[in-house]
């Protein structure tokens, strides 16, 4: 199994930045697109996507696959996803280890899964179906969670690892999500990272979060905090040079600010991955 080569340091593509990206060709190595934003009939979103994909590598990142739902897979959605894949030629396609609704409805949220053998078998089977349909491995991302279930039979990291191994899929390690869930559920973020198989991780996510009344909330509306940068350095030590990107979905700053934030990631990676002198 050949893990894809690192793309370097990227950003989430957001409509606020289309003009500046196309006018200035900023030093960003690649972009991650939110798949659903481009699953539309036509118009500016797809024109912009075409223009960006001519200049930069992209990866597709979805929020609505609902891979862990007990509702049937949405084949209409999968066909639209495949159509977008043909158009954007992504380096990989990802979504979240979560469910978003049942009974034909969507809650438009990334809900955590009970870490049970039944759920594991179910998720592995569904990833297999999606990979067969798309004809390629997909990447699955650990989510932030504010609850866990009484029925869980294993730790989250064991569940994630088993999903990846049994389904033979890639993983996105969302470092911020590890930090948020670790804080909310009082688990060791280092233990989480140490249990994720090195050869499965194709991408790191970095993002900001907020403090809620009952814990940390994965809001993507602030800069990456120091603790998450430290955890990122820890992840780099274990996984090596992995494609890294910053997600910002609310309170979106000017592109230059995000590029500067990305430079912090570059700097940490340069220091952490520096070859040891003989």
């Amino acid at each position: 199994m050949q893990t894809p080569k690192s793309l370097g340091f990227g950003l989430g593509l957001r409509p606020q930045h289309y003009g500046e990206i196309l006018a200035t060709n900023p030093a960003i190595d690649w972009f991650e697109i939110i798949s659903e934003n481009y699953m539309v009939p036509g118009g500016k979103p797809l024109r912009m996507l075409d223009a960006i994909t001519e200049r930069y590598p992209v990866v597709m990142h979805g929020v609505a696959l609902s891979i862990a739902s007990t509702a049937p897979l949405d084949m209409e959605y999968l066909h639209a996803l495949k159509q977008l894949e043909r158009r954007s030629n992504p380096k990989w396609i990802s979504d979240h280890l979560c469910w978003t609704g049942v009974h034909g409805m969507s809650l438009h949220d990334l809900l955590p899964v009970p870490y049970t053998q039944e759920a594991l078998k179910h998720v592995v089977s569904r990833i297999g179906q999606v990979q067969d349909f798309l004809g390629r491995r997909i990447a699955i991302e650990n989510v932030s969670s504010y609850i866990t279930y009484q029925q869980s039979e294993m730790e989250e990291w064991d569940f994630v690892r088993e999903v990846a191994e049994q389904a033979d899929c890639w993983l996105i390690l969302d470092v911020n999500n590890v930090f948020v869930s670790g804080s909310n559920h009082d688990f060791s973020t280092h233990a989480f990272i140490d249990q994720i198989p090195v050869d499965r991780v194709v991408q790191f996510h970095l993002a900001g979060h907020s403090e809620g009344e009952v814990g940390l909330i994965d809001t993507h509306d602030l800069a990456v905090c120091d603790e998450v940068w430290q955890l990122y350095a820890r992840a780099l030590k274990r996984f090596g040079a992995v494609s890294t990107m910053i997600e910002r979905d609310d309170n979106i700053p000017p592109l230059t600010e995000l590029v500067q934030e990305l430079d912090i990631a570059r700097s940490i990676a340069a220091k952490t991955l520096k070859p040891v002198a003989a």
Binding site: M39, Y77, D109, V113, I147, T148, V214
Partner: protein
């Protein structure tokens, strides 16, 4: 008894939508804080997120009626319309119809028209891409075949009919100035919503042009268009007016290129 994944998901889904405690028995105690409060994060996020989708799609209505009233109407819509599409882009599709069927704006017809206009602009924005007919396409048609020219509107174009001064209200809101007082117009107003250079826009239509656009909605030849216009008002100027509209429509990228291709063949 072993609880299945489907049972857990069904209860959690119900508890989020109904803001009930039906799923709490499945939620583990938190190391610090209580599980009920943690679960409420998901319950609150559900309403906030769907309200955000509506705000994103109907910013002018929100600016017009204010945050509190908009949020109240959004809550009613969310309660009556759980999202059935995985893509948030389509969540608000039934919002105008919902408002029409509710009594929220019985005496405020301009609000219904405002959301109708906002939705048409959204549809125009990401409607399917079809190459637009150009002057060059037109020039490629031999004069003898000009009457055979098939003209069809782009999928992004639509014509609305408003009874109120809604477009003036929309324009004021867009410019962030005090909107005019709503009132019923002496004559219904026809509005063309379309996409040009990747931006959705609208303009008011004269009676003649509105009628001509109605004729070509489903595609007709240029000759038939002239005949239909002449049938409505044969003042001897029909070909001239039809040619003028054709020029305006070409400049606005309103027509589909494939129509011209058919005429060339």
């Amino acid at each position: 008894m072993k609880i299945s994944l489907a049972d857990i998901q069904s209860a959690v889904h119900q508890a989020i939508v109904e803001k009930s405690t039906v799923a709490l028995k499945f939620i583990a105690p938190l190391p610090h804080g209580n599980a009920l409060a943690a679960f409420k994060v998901y319950q609150d996020a559900y309403t906030l997120r769907l309200t955000g989708f509506l705000t994103n799609d109907f910013p002018m209505l929100k600016a017009y009626i204010g945050d509190d009233r908009f949020d109240e109407i959004a809550r009613h819509y969310i309660h009556a319309n759980p999202s059935t599409h995985p893509n948030a882009r389509w969540y608000s599709e039934d919002f105008p119809a919902f408002l029409k069927s509710s009594n929220a704006f019985t005496d405020n017809g301009e609000c219904i028209e405002l959301v109708t206009l906002e939705q048409a602009l959204s549809h125009a924005f990401d409607a399917a891409d079809v190459p637009a007919m150009t002057l060059a396409d037109l020039a490629a048609i031999l004069p003898a075949h000009a009457g055979d020219l098939q003209i069809n509107l782009q999928p992004s174009a639509t014509v609305l009919t408003f009874q109120q001064n809604t477009t003036s209200i929309w324009s004021a809101l867009k410019a962030d100035i005090e909107p005019p007082h709503p009132h019923k117009l002496d004559q219904p107003q026809k509005i063309l919503v379309f996409r040009q250079v990747q931006a959705s826009r609208f303009r008011l239509l004269g009676e003649d042009e509105a009628m001509a656009l109605a004729f070509i909605r489903d595609g007709v030849s240029f000759a038939v268009l002239c005949e239909m216009m002449a049938f409505q008002n044969d003042d001897g100027e029909v070909p001239k007016r039809a040619a003028m509209f054709l020029r305006i429509w070409l400049e606005s990228q309103l027509l589909m290129a494939e129509s011209a291709a058919k005429a060339v063949k």
